[in-house]
């Protein structure tokens, strides 16, 4: 019953809580807004209220708003299904005041009674879930509270009967429950110094350098730039000096933000951006290799189902969730040969390494030694399109 397969609305609504939770776990869904918390864990103990966090707050973030624009029907269906499966008394969308017009279609459908929209002040608040609850409801998440074992911890949304999930996370839930499609991609903005903002859907584990090249950045000649994983306010440094080292698209990457080396992201807090005219561009099937993490953060690594040399297709399962602790299923974000399984990372098609580095390794190893990582067959784009 819980396999990854296509389901009609009525079939999805007939799923039990346990079945739906298991599908989310197997599909590998984690909080795409930046938290990375495993989504299935939030739904193990259903709460009376679901708040959909559609308030992406970092300057330059457009992914969630574009997803809402492009997938209205999918969101309406997943709201309806989740209301039935988890017995939500209320589903509310949290939307910034400034975005009223953008969400006009959702306002119109809200009269169907499945969900409502709570408009919240535009104040930049990082899309933080406790702040969203404060503005969108009459409820307050407690500052701190006593746990049964006598310790104290900061309050969480579930302490007041609320689950908060962001837009993209819920679209991933739709994909899993309705389409039987596991999590293999991430939506994010690429923007900042010297380029026009773009929004991509890219395979998880893709090389940041490769994506920047596709976006038109001359990576090798841009050592004066850094790129962060995250926006002007909240980010991790991805590549300090372009052309020197690399980073990979994570399950919670929301943007790749370019800025001059040595400058602070916060200096760009007041930048204004427009959504890209072309909408979201998919890079699925257009990436030369990936490094897919089996775990990371709160996640216990999944047990690899593949070994070096195996051939996998796009969306082939490559990791089984560990039995103990928080753990999720992991699925191939591209087709190709498994080039390595080490340090809880599965590399496909040579891994997500810059091509020149791969070539250098190939040369170095041609004198004997380990087979080069860059030698795998290039991924066939046509196959990716048909397997989607």
């Amino acid at each position: 019953m819980t396999g990854m397969k296509q389901r009609r609305l009525e079939e999805v609504k007939a799923l039990s809580v346990e079945e739906a939770v298991e599908i989310m776990r197997q599909a590998g869904i984690v909080g795409a807004g930046g938290g990375g918390f495993p989504t299935y864990v939030k739904y193990k103990a259903p709460q009376p209220c679901l708040i959909v966090n559609a308030t992406e707050s970092e300057p330059g973030y457009w992914g969630d708003k574009l997803l809402h624009k492009e997938h209205l029907e999918e969101f309406l269906q997943v709201f309806e299904a989740m209301k039935t499966i988890f017995g939500f008394e209320r589903i509310s969308m949290g939307v910034h005041e400034k975005d009223r017009e953008w969400f006009a279609d959702y306002q119109e459908h809200a009269s169907d009674g499945v969900y409502d929209i709570r408009y919240v002040p535009d104040t930049y608040a990082l899309g933080e879930e406790k702040t969203l609850i404060k503005h969108a409801t009459d409820t307050r998440v407690p500052r701190f509270l006593e746990t049964p074992d006598g310790t104290r911890r900061p309050g969480m949304p579930l302490d007041v009967g609320i689950i908060v999930n962001n837009t993209e996370t819920l679209l991933n839930v739709y994909n899993a429950l309705f389409l039987g499609k596991p999590l293999t991609t991430k939506f994010f903005s690429v923007y900042g110094e010297e380029m026009k903002l773009k929004v991509y859907e890219a395979p998880i584990g893709a090389s940041v350098s490769e994506i920047l090249r596709i976006a038109g950045i001359d990576v090798e000649d841009s050592g004066h730039l850094s790129v962060t994983d995250g926006g002007p306010y909240l980010h991790d440094m991805a590549i300090e000096e372009l052309g020197n080292g690399d980073a990979y698209v994570r399950r919670m990457t929301n943007s790749l933000f370019l800025l001059p080396r040595g400058r602070q992201g916060k200096e760009y807090a007041d930048i204004t951006t427009d959504p890209p005219k072309e909408g979201i561009v998919s890079l699925v099937g257009k990436i030369s290799g990936v490094n897919l993490p089996l775990g990371g953060g709160l996640l216990k690594p999944a047990t690899p189902l593949v070994s070096e040399g195996d051939e996998v297709e796009y969306e082939h399962k490559i990791g089984e969730p560990a039995e103990e602790g928080f753990s999720i299923g992991v699925w191939a974000s591209m087709g190709g040969a498994i080039s390595s399984v080490e340090n809880d990372i599965v590399a496909i098609a040579g891994g997500a390494i810059p091509q020149e580095e791969a070539e250098a390794e190939a040369e170095a190893s041609s004198a004997g030694g380990a087979p080069p990582r860059g030698e795998a067959e290039p991924f066939q784009e046509a196959e990716a399109e048909t397997s989607r």
Binding site: T123, Y124, A125, L126, E128, K130, T131, K134, R140, R143, F144, R152, P154, G155, Y233, L234, K266, A269
Partner: protein
């Protein structure tokens, strides 16, 4: 809306809050840290970080600590520097 640092910070001055503040609005006011309400974006990230639970949303500050709200609102921040994380 803003957050307010209260009594428990005095003698503690753990800088965890300073480290997580995305807008650097937490200043070193001598005895304790202080949030500039003009710069605070109400994100709440500092609140759970405080090991002595000194930080409150401004509308939840206990009666006997309200003077911290007033002090933070009236303070001249141009005279002091933002706090520095040192944990």
């Amino acid at each position: 809306m803003t957050y307010v640092i209260t009594e428990a910070c005095i003698g503690t001055k753990n800088t965890a809050c300073v480290g997580v503040c995305p807008v650097d609005c937490i200043y070193d006011a001598g005895d304790h840290f202080m949030i500039n309400p003009e710069e605070c974006i109400d994100c709440s990230m500092c609140m759970p970080e405080c090991p002595v639970e000194a930080i409150y949303p401004d509308d939840e500050v206990p009666e006997d600590m309200r003077h911290f709200t007033t002090k933070a609102a009236e303070f001249d921040y141009s005279s002091i520097a933002p706090g520095v994380e040192s944990n």
